[in-house]
């Protein structure tokens, strides 16, 4: 079936989530005609996230109402190259979104800046410890952009998304009450920190006694009504405890819907097309220029949308998949260790401890996605790694993000798995427990990558993306180190019982871990080891920009969204100030 040719536009975005809405808004304001193509449907606070139905744990947290429909498209997974990848038939380990707003609708709202060290992982590691501390097959590298270059863009994103927190470093001067390890900020957070829960207060007290500097998790849950620089007003968080996997009934969680879409949709330079699934970026005969994208609508009709600039703004997996399906950049080959598209897929390494008390209650069903008390002493290179046998780290946190009872009812180790003994322990400890989590980095390796699956296909008959991934020695050692620190703090709090949950065994796609998938279209200064340059522009097809956590060369210890937001503004400025004036390679 021949595709219907549409009228050319200046810019087309593939996906209409966090990165696309910002770019589309700014470029439409600059006078460009922008079309946003979103595979899912439109959804908004009213009526989609309204009470009482949004507080439905089964529907949203267990049946994934806001997530990707795997019957149409999934990915395949294997731990190692010598295994046969099989499709992820059900969601588990991570939860990509679907529909306008993408995963930024159902996120928790934790909004960090990556450390200055994170952007120069390889060179700073070698400078401090020598090359021998990096595993031979470790492909972690520098980003090609530094923290100082990104600082104004972090700032812009935090003010757009109304982030609450306390600065730990203002223009090089360490501030009390914030994260003393963070890179210098040009100004305070736009909103004050969140409240501290009972769990957080005990965590802080123990950290104080151990000499660690605890502070409040930076949060995109509004601590007061906030009007952002686009003039969009968000409501104040009511600590209802339904953030992650849910939409917010109060418009109090920053998302494309609550920060950008109201003004973007009012701009006549922008056109949103939902239920429009992009299947290919079409290149010219020299394969040096994208001329259009092909998408399929909800009636199965094919359309070809010509554009001067193509922005890939979907989740990690689809950004990489669309590059591979369209022949943009050389696919990565782990055997020859050549090619770039699909290279350096990474994830997040989580572990923690559960604390159980006989004499304390916590009301952990109250809270917010990013309500937590944290320490950052053991993140990045904030501590001396000499002799430890690993690089990187993560943060430790006692969070109160909503103890919904299907998913949250921890019991002490040794409790029967079911039956009356289990029931007694659940009743006893549901409100007398909380967790300390270790949220940690993941380095990149030659054998962790994305490519196209040879067997399994999506609903359009196109190959699924294939993930080959496992944790490595560095991650197990790092995670053990952090888990021990979590247990040390746990012990100082003095619970009646404590479970220690280490990261052991192969990576499994079954239990939920985090929707912090990274890499596959990584940025860098060398076209031999990066798919996009430091401005997130394809080295091979310069009118294609690939925006998102797909650009992370490896994952830091933090949640990725703050850094994704900064990279979005960084790429935007390069497009607006340089590319539009003189289209062509920017690096």
């Amino acid at each position: 079936m021949a595709a219907t040719q549409l009228k050319p536009v200046d810019v087309v975005t593939v996906g209409v989530g966090l990165t696309a809405t910002i770019l589309a808004k700014e470029l439409a304001d600059a006078g460009l005609k922008v079309v946003g193509l979103e595979r899912g449907a439109l959804r908004d606070t009213n009526p989609d996230f309204m009470l009482p139905n949004i507080h439905d744990e089964l529907k949203y947290a267990r049946r994934y109402a806001l997530m990707q429909d795997l019957s149409r498209e999934t990915l395949t997974f294997r731990n190692a190259v010598n295994e046969t990848a099989l499709p992820m038939r059900r969601l588990g380990s991570f939860l990509p979104g679907e529909g306008v707003g993408g995963a930024a609708v159902h996120w928790n709202g934790v909004t960090w800046r990556f450390l200055p060290w994170d952007f120069e992982t390889r060179s700073r590691t070698i400078a401090r410890y020598g090359k021998s501390v990096l595993a031979e097959d470790c492909t972690s590298q520098d980003w090609g952009v530094t923290y100082d270059e990104l600082e104004p863009h972090f700032d812009r994103f935090e003010y757009l998304y109304g982030i609450s927190g306390k600065a730990g470093n203002l223009k090089g001067v360490v501030q009390s009450g914030g994260n003393p390890f963070e890179g210098p900020r040009s100004r305070e957070y736009p909103n004050p920190p969140m409240k501290t829960s009972h769990a957080g207060s005990l965590f802080k007290k123990a950290c104080d006694s151990l000499g660690y500097k605890a502070f409040g998790l930076p949060s995109a849950n509004m601590t007061r009504p906030y009007t952002n620089p686009y003039g969009v007003t968000l409501g104040a968080c009511v600590y209802c405890g339904y953030c992650e996997r849910f939409g917010c009934e109060m418009s109090a969680k920053a998302s494309p819907q609550t920060t950008v879409l109201p003004v973007l949709l009012a701009n006549t330079n922008f056109e949103l097309r939902t239920l429009a699934n992009v299947v290919k970026v079409n290149l010219d005969s020299a394969r040096k220029r994208a001329v259009s994208v092909t998408y399929v609508d909800s009636r199965g009709r094919e359309f070809e949308q010509p554009a001067e600039i193509v922005l890939l703004n979907s989740y990690v997996f689809n950004n990489v998949r669309l590059m591979l399906l369209s022949g943009i950049g050389k696919p990565y080959d782990p055997v020859a260790n050549q090619g770039v598209v699909g290279r350096n897929y990474a994830y997040q390494t989580l572990s923690g401890v559960n604390l159980f008390f006989e004499d304390k209650v916590f009301n952990q069903f109250m809270g917010a996605g990013a309500l937590g008390t944290v320490i950052d002493e053991f993140d990045g290179d904030n501590f001396d790694h000499a002799g430890l046998g690993f690089i990187g780290g993560g943060y430790l946190n006692a969070s109160s993000y909503g103890a919904r009872p299907i998913d949250y009812h921890p019991v002490p180790d040794g409790t029967p798995r079911w039956g009356s003994g289990w029931k007694k322990a659940v009743a006893r400890y549901y409100n007398r427990s909380f967790n300390i989590g270790a949220h940690a980095a993941c380095q990149s390796y030659r054998t962790n990558y994305l490519d196209l699956d040879p067997t399994y296909r999506d609903v359009y008959g196109l190959p699924l993306i294939r993930m080959t991934f496992d944790f490595h020695e560095n991650e197990y050692k790092m995670s053990d180190y952090l888990t021990n620190k979590a247990a040390e703090i746990g012990k100082a709090i003095g619970p009646a019982k404590m479970n220690i949950n280490r990261r052991t065994g192969k990576y499994s796609i079954v239990p939920y871990q985090s929707t912090h998938n990274t890499g596959g279209a990584v940025m860098g200064a060398d076209p031999g080891t990066s798919a996009v340059n430091r401005y997130l522009q394809s080295w091979d097809v310069p009118n294609v920009f690939v925006i998102g956590a797909s650009a992370f060369p490896q994952n830091g210890g933090y949640n990725p969204t703050g850094t994704v937001g900064a990279l979005t503004f960084w790429a935007l400025e390069a497009i607006k100030n340089r590319y539009l004036k003189q289209p062509g390679p920017l690096a």
Partner: protein, 263 residues
């Protein structure tokens, strides 16, 4: 034989005369096939509660699921268990719907079993898993104990469930642990999900742990340390049917329990 039939027809006629089945509307054969139903039918005293009717599970399967969930989360001194909470009905409705048919899951082959890390790879949907596994478990129970699972003593039922949980009871159609894992997950879901799905009847799961259901505004409570927030739980239906007071944002205003009031 002929005599039996005549007696039977006579009994049907007697019931019909009582008004439950209008005589002459049902062919004789069909009447014979539905004998027990006809005999049990009583004049309805109230409208049937539509939501409490099974749509997927067969009666023997309902018996199995009720018996199993009664062991997984038993009724005890702490209160009702999964059976009383309506978990079997919850599971029935889940199996009949999108989840039970894997409507939003990837369903294309080939279907090798894969590694544990690769997750669910059964070509059977949850609907089909329950049907096949319950049949097999009941056959094995019949072989070992001479009875179906639902007829066994509680301790024997526990033994069977433990064998499934530990993968020691081999099933042909699906791995035993896959079935047990699904049953146990569904039992917890049915015990703790909003009652709108048929389980957690009278909010017994929420009352057991002290979960308030649809959240109120907690701004004034989230930093009150070591003070249990004890409220009467509010469900989605309570809100839709205006049985709960709401504030201007649509959050329920929770009714707090008195200090010595037991939930």
């Amino acid at each position: 034989m002929k005599e039996d039939r005549r007696r039977f027809l006579k009994s049907v006629t007697a019931v019909s005369a009582a008004g439950a089945v209008p005589a002459g509307l049902v062919p004789e054969v069909a009447q014979a096939q539905h004998a027990t139903h006809v005999a049990q039918a009583k004049p309805p005293t109230a409208a049937a509660t539509q939501m409490q009717a099974y749509v997927y599970l067969t009666p023997p399967e309902v018996e199995f699921v009720e018996a199993a969930v009664a062991r997984l989360i038993p009724a005890d001194e702490l209160g009702p268990g999964a059976k009383e909470a309506g978990v079997a009905l919850f599971i029935d409705h889940q199996l009949a719907g999108a989840w039970g048919t894997m409507a939003r899951n990837y369903r294309q082959g080939p279907w090798p079993e894969g590694t544990p890390q690769q997750g669910y790879q059964s070509p059977l949907t949850p609907q089909e898993v329950y049907r096949a596994a319950i049949r097999e478990v009941n056959l094995q129970c019949a072989k070992q104990y001479g009875k179906a699972f639902a007829e066994l003593a509680p301790a024997q039922q526990d033994d069977v469930l433990r064998a499934l949980d530990e993968g020691k009871l081999a099933l042909e159609s699906v791995p035993a642990r896959l079935f047990f894992g699904m049953l146990w997950d569904n039992t917890q879901e049915g015990f703790f999900a909003d009652p709108v799905y048929g389980g957690n009847r009278d909010k017994v799961g929420w009352r057991l742990v002290g979960f308030p259901g649809v959240a109120a505004i907690y701004v004034q409570h989230v930093d009150k340390y070591n003070v249990a927030y004890r409220a009467r739980p509010v469900s989605i239906a309570d809100m839709q049917q205006k049985l709960a007071q709401v504030d201007e944002h649509g959050h329920p205003v929770h009714v707090m329990l008195a200090a010595n009031e037991k939930e």
